[in-house]
């Protein structure tokens, strides 16, 4: 197969931490690298560590006015700038100016956005487009490098569920979601595994920039399917918890009839979908207010063609 997609050198790479101010691995890593960037230095690559939401980081809270990782909509980015805009919308406009503009040739080549979750998702890579062969090849490389440890890939390409992330400003956006870790807490094991994944990602970029051709490959992904809310009463109060059998079982099959929620007085509520799904983001603290107990996914294999630099 002589079909090789050529991409420009990935010369400008950013590493975002603190998009949510209480997700501590990314905040800590980025602050470390701002002080001393030796670890993230790669030949021929400009790697810029950056705290995206400094006010939220200072208060150790997810956001100040509104979720920064939902703020990069076309509407927000093109709105006239002003102090009356929510803090995170102003911030999104600033970030778009530095690392974008989103969708333009001047935008950064790659942005890694570092996140933590209270869900038991391990080291998850988040992919926004099934057609981004550069990202697919990078994820394939990372998965091979950390084997036998696993690195699930969550594909958020979905007409309704896809959201406008800070990383979406770049040509190749990559989300790193590592858990489980409580908000506001720094766990050594979670911190070190995020560090290792990033190391492999930067190695890939260095190899790519040196001219290495990556042959065609396939990547198993989990494509996001449906958002599942907690059962609620007529006043909107939660009346059940994620069932003990489902809690911590991210990426494991959930079959019709399997326990899904447990009411506070002990009754089991079961999954009544048509087929087997793979839940993730199970019991993420930040999603109670977004009406999400977990999200279902379906397994898919994506093919990436060979790639090399132009």
């Amino acid at each position: 197969n002589t079909n090789v997609s050529c991409f420009h050198e990935a010369r400008r790479v950013a590493i975002f931490g603190g998009t949510h101010g209480n997700e501590m691995s990314g905040v800590t890593l980025v602050n470390l690298w701002i002080q001393n960037g030796k670890e993230i230095h790669r030949k021929g690559v400009e790697t810029k560590p950056f705290i995206t939401n400094p006010r939220a980081v200072e208060k150790c809270t997810r956001y100040v006015d509104t979720d920064l990782n939902r703020a990069f909509t076309t509407e927000n980015l093109s709105a006239p700038s002003g102090d009356d805009l929510p803090y995170e919308v102003q911030r999104a406009q600033q970030i778009n100016e530095i690392f974008g503009p989103k969708g333009s040739p001047e935008a950064y080549d790659v942005i890694f956005d570092l996140h933590n979750t209270t869900s038991n998702m391990g080291c998850t890579l988040i992919l926004e487009s099934s057609k981004d062969h550069f990202n697919l090849q990078m994820m394939h490389y990372i998965k091979k490098a950390i084997a036998p440890d696993s690195c699930p890939v969550l594909l958020t390409e979905h007409p309704l569920l896809k959201y406008s992330t800070s990383r979406s400003v770049a040509k190749h956006p990559i989300g790193l979601e590592v858990g489980p870790q409580p908000q506001g807490v720094l766990r050594s094991n979670i911190f070190e595994s995020m560090r290792v994944v990033l190391k492999h990602a930067l190695d890939f970029i260095e190899l790519f920039n040196e001219g290495l051709e990556f042959p065609p490959c396939t990547v198993d992904v989990f494509r996001v399917s449906e958002k599942m809310d907690y059962p609620r009463d007529t006043n909107g109060n939660i009346i059940a918890m994620v069932h003990p059998n489902l809690q911590d079982c991210d990426w494991e099959p959930l079959n019709p009839g399997d326990p899904m929620f447990q009411t506070f007085d002990g009754t089991t509520l079961r999954y009544e979908g048509a087929g087997t799904v793979y839940p993730t983001f199970i019991n993420e603290a930040a999603y109670y207010e977004k009406q999400q107990a977990f999200v279902t996914t379906r397994r898919e294999t994506l093919a990436a063609g060979a790639i090399k630099k132009t």
């Binding site: 800590t28 766990r187 050594s188 603290a285």
Partner: protein, 312 residues
């Protein structure tokens, strides 16, 4: 030991949401209210959401930590326009459940908490000579097998006890972890519910005249000191994470020379104390603002006397 007889516990209070993001207690109190549980045998049951404003915004507190506001000094301080919300609320709760130290106080306060630390089920109080509390602990420890059950003593004179449980004639906290703040886990909720059920069960048995035999209770831990995060002297940033050999190993042994912190640069910071102690509240989220990585405790066994309700 000589048998002890104590007055019946006719008024019991269960408090949740003292910290607004510790969700098991919030949901458990709401569930008790939904079930309209107002009595435990002959005892009346009061259920309280202690810090409703903090619960509303799912934060530990709004102005200051409510569970540090129950010292005699703070409870009697004059209220001005500048008084933090939690101080006013503590004084309200003192009227509702106290007055602390006085005859009108409720007989038993049980305050519900969660921690991000891997502490299983811990009962926390400020005295190991409150025989009501020690017998409740013994029952809970005997009856609950799904998680480790321990007792933590914060030894302070009553006037200086800052926690809400000191409002009652007898009081203790139920601390269950690990659970992230803002999250309700079914296993943690169910464990807390079991502990509350056993507590109310004991109260009913006690009130109806059961004799509880004396003996020894173990797994009692006394607070000795706190261990702080290492910081860069110039930037004041934390420079290490709690070492993987201490993380999640609450109540295990820490020997002199054992690793405590793993620096981001890769070096290990070791425990340099002389006494073998037990870490607890290891990596509790709320303690970062005080720079506390964990507390250290000494383990002991306590002898408790036979106990029965005092008949008039």
């Amino acid at each position: 030991m000589e048998p002890v007889s104590l007055p019946a516990l006719s008024r019991v209070a269960i408090c949740g949401g003292t910290h607004g993001n510790e969700m098991s207690g919030v949901y458990l109190v709401r569930e008790l209210q939904r079930q309209k549980l107002e009595k435990a045998g002959s005892a009346t049951l009061t259920t309280v959401i202690s810090n409703p404003r903090a619960v509303q915004v799912c934060k530990r507190y709004t102005d200051m930590d409510l569970n540090r506001c129950f010292t005699d000094a703070i409870l009697s301080s004059p209220v001005t326009v500048a008084t933090p919300y939690e101080v006013r609320r503590a004084q309200e709760l003192n009227t509702l459940l106290g007055p602390k130290g006085k005859l009108g106080a409720v007989d038993l306060v049980c305050d519900l908490h969660n921690t991000t630390a891997n502490m299983g089920l811990s009962l926390i109080s400020y005295s190991v000579q409150d025989w009501v509390i020690m017998h409740i602990y013994r029952q809970v420890q005997r009856k609950i097998t799904s998680a480790p059950v321990r007792f933590i003593l914060l030894d302070l004179p009553l006037a200086d006890v800052y926690s809400q449980d000191s409002l009652g004639k007898h009081g203790f906290s139920i601390e269950v972890g690990p659970q992230p703040h803002g999250v309700v886990r079914a296993d943690i909720f169910n464990l807390m519910k079991e502990a509350v059920d056993q507590t109310l069960d004991w109260v009913q048995c006690f009130n109806s005249g059961s004799a509880f035999e004396g003996g020894e209770v173990d797994d009692v831990y006394t607070f000795v000191k706190s261990v702080y995060y290492p910081r860069d002297p110039e930037t004041n940033q934390i420079t290490a994470a709690i070492h993987p050999q201490v993380q999640d190993r609450d109540f295990c042994l820490l020997h002199p020379g054992d690793p405590m912190f793993l620096m981001f640069s890769g070096e290990i910071v070791k425990y340099e104390g002389e006494e073998v102690l037990h870490p607890f509240f290891v990596n509790e989220c709320a303690y970062y603002e005080k720079s506390i990585a964990f507390h250290l405790a000494r383990k002991m066994t306590v002898t408790i006397p036979p106990l029965q309700v005092k008949r008039d």
